[in-house]
């Protein structure tokens, strides 16, 4: 095994343990599993007799697009990926990496991969848990026909793919922000507003966002919710024609590759200047 591969593996091992088992990361698990709580609650305590599987599939799609992708994975990736570089700056421990015989590009790649493994495991795992929570109360026959004869399995795979792509897309952007900015919260807030206001933008600008491509991978199309409580700046509105799924996947992967390479190049100029706060 060559040196770069060994170094990548070493970085991944160090960071994975920290991401999965740190107390600071508990809120990410909570965010990922939050939708599952009412789903299981409804299954156990609610009245599910008159519910239609099609209706629940629609509700799941809505939750996935409007809560899971835009909020849970978004903020989860903020927590995981910004912590990889900027978090270590705050902990005053990044210099231990920078004093190793590792190219900065390899360090960024290793950190990105570790963040990716952690985020995909957590968020795709949570999709599976939610899926179970949402549909497990239906009879086994109905469920089997939905999963294996109907669209169930392909929908589930699409959701898992969308969740993984969201981790790749948001992860790369937040890793870059962590390398580039002293306070990466500012770009994160700007991205949140940009992604949220995406529906208000002209068609061309809509495509300069991650959520547009992610929505294109989602199997069920959900119309934008209408506001009726006076909140004219709701961050949850968007309604656009999706791109072909294959194009969306390729574009997101290209975006992630470009941003990660940029972060790697930017990391060459990274200096240690730990502040007091």
């Amino acid at each position: 095994m060559n040196l770069w591969k060994r170094q990548l593996l070493a970085i991944i091992r160090i960071d994975l343990a920290r991401t999965f088992f740190s107390k600071r990361g508990i809120w990410i698990y909570l965010l990922a599993l939050a939708p599952a709580i009412p789903m299981f609650g409804h299954w156990i305590f609610g009245n599910t007799e008159n519910e239609q599987l099609g209706g629940d599939a629609q509700i799941f799609a809505g939750i996935f697009q409007f809560f899971y992708l835009r909020i849970a994975i978004f903020f989860g990736c903020v927590g995981i990926f910004m912590n990889l570089i900027r978090g270590e700056m705050l902990d005053k421990s990044l210099h231990f990496y920078l004093l190793g015989p590792v190219r900065r590009e390899v360090l960024v790649a290793g950190k990105f991969l570790s963040g990716l493994i952690a985020s995909i495991t957590i968020f795709c795992g949570a999709v599976l848990v939610q899926w179970v929570g949402m549909f497990a109360h239906y009879s086994p026959d109905l469920l089997a026909s939905y999963m294996f004869s109907g669209p169930g399995m392909s929908h589930l795979i699409s959701y898992l793919l969308a969740a993984a792509l969201a981790c790749i897309g948001y992860g790369s952007v937040f890793l870059w922000a962590g390398v580039r900015y002293k306070n990466p919260l500012i770009p994160a807030a700007m991205i949140l507003v940009w992604e949220g206001a995406n529906g208000l933008l002209p068609a061309m600008l809509k495509k300069i966002s991650i959520i547009y491509w992610l929505k294109s991978v989602c199997p069920v199309s959900i119309p934008a919710p209408k506001n009726n409580d006076g909140e004219i700046l709701s961050l949850l509105i968007f309604d656009i024609d999706p791109a072909p799924a294959m194009v969306a996947v390729v574009n997101l992967l290209l975006l992630a590759a470009f941003v990660t390479v940029w972060a790697g190049i930017r990391a060459r100029r990274l200096e240690i200047g730990y502040g007091t706060d």
Binding site: V78, N228, D229
Partner: protein, 285 residues
């Protein structure tokens, strides 16, 4: 060199009165806050919407302009819905201000052990909280309450005394809504800043609690076919209370009284958090 050799003399100038001593903290905190150029630009940007509203109010009553575009009445209706929408926009900006300013108020003092230095002076914990809170309060008030009342005053001056009297409830509603907003955001900023000592994470948590609260509330409502989820949506609770105060009730969700009660409970929880976290203790070791 010994202190006495430097001919040290204690401060002998006038002292700030104990009642207003908390404003000292506020003064220095402001200096620190506005050191960031980006934050300053963002804060200035918060005044664009109020400026636009006041201009629109003026143009809406300008007979010459209306005649030029061939309209007899104004191009927009000045009612509770307009002010409610205005407060919603400014409320979102106030949330962003809280996320960026709030964490820098308390978290650095806790991380660097400055709280004990403050409290070693003739300065109480409540004064510390009040001083830091007033920074947020002043900033949020200046982008919500102040422009809201200014817009109301401009409209009153343009239309006349009768409009003012007939719509006085709007002025009262704006004031009370903004005070509720200020109280909630101020406590939220301080609590998160005290709870999470990392400035960046605390800011992210404030942003996330708005977005995630709203989203999670919708998830509960959809999945459980209920409306109890609204109690987790702070934005919705604030809108419901503001709507009731401006006599423009929000049609969906909780009742105004329930929303107000939920906000009181939420504020109580935040106060408890602040009380628990803002303590000076020495760890032997």
């Amino acid at each position: 060199m010994a202190v006495y050799k430097r001919t040290y003399r204690g401060y002998s100038g006038p002292l700030t009165s104990p009642t207003w001593r908390f404003t000292v903290l506020q003064r220095y905190a402001f200096k620190a806050v506005f050191k960031s150029r980006l934050l300053l630009i963002g804060y200035v940007a918060c005044f664009f919407a109020p400026l636009a509203l006041i201009c629109a109010l003026y143009l809406n009553q300008n007979a010459t302009l209306l005649a030029m575009v061939g309209q007899k009445t104004g191009f927009m209706k000045i009612d509770a819905a307009l002010f409610l929408n205005f407060l919603s926009v400014q409320g979102v900006l106030a949330g962003l201000v809280t996320a960026f300013v709030g964490p820098s108020l308390v978290a650095p003092d806790l991380t660097n052990g400055a709280l004990s230095v403050y409290l070693a002076r003739p300065f109480s914990r409540s004064e510390y909280i009040l001083g830091k809170g007033m920074v947020l309060g002043t900033m949020i008030g200046s982008i919500t309450l102040l422009p809201g009342l200014l817009a109301f005053a401009v409209q009153s001056s343009l239309v006349g005394w009768t409009w003012f009297v007939d719509n006085l409830y709007l002025g009262v509603g704006i004031t009370l809504s903004c005070l509720v907003l200020i109280a909630v955001l101020m406590l939220m900023g301080l609590a998160m800043s005290a709870f999470v000592r990392w400035k960046i994470v605390a800011g992210a948590l404030i942003l996330a609690s708005f977005a995630a609260g709203k989203g999670f509330a919708a998830v509960i409502n959809e999945v459980m076919r209920t409306k109890i989820g609204y109690f987790l949506d702070v934005q919705h609770l604030l809108s419901t209370v503001s709507g009731a105060l401006l006599h423009h009730p929000v049609t969906e969700g909780t009742s105004p009284w329930a929303a107000a009660l939920a906000l009181v409970v939420f504020c109580g929880f935040l106060l408890m958090l602040i009380n628990r976290k803002l303590r000076v203790c020495e760890v032997a070791g």
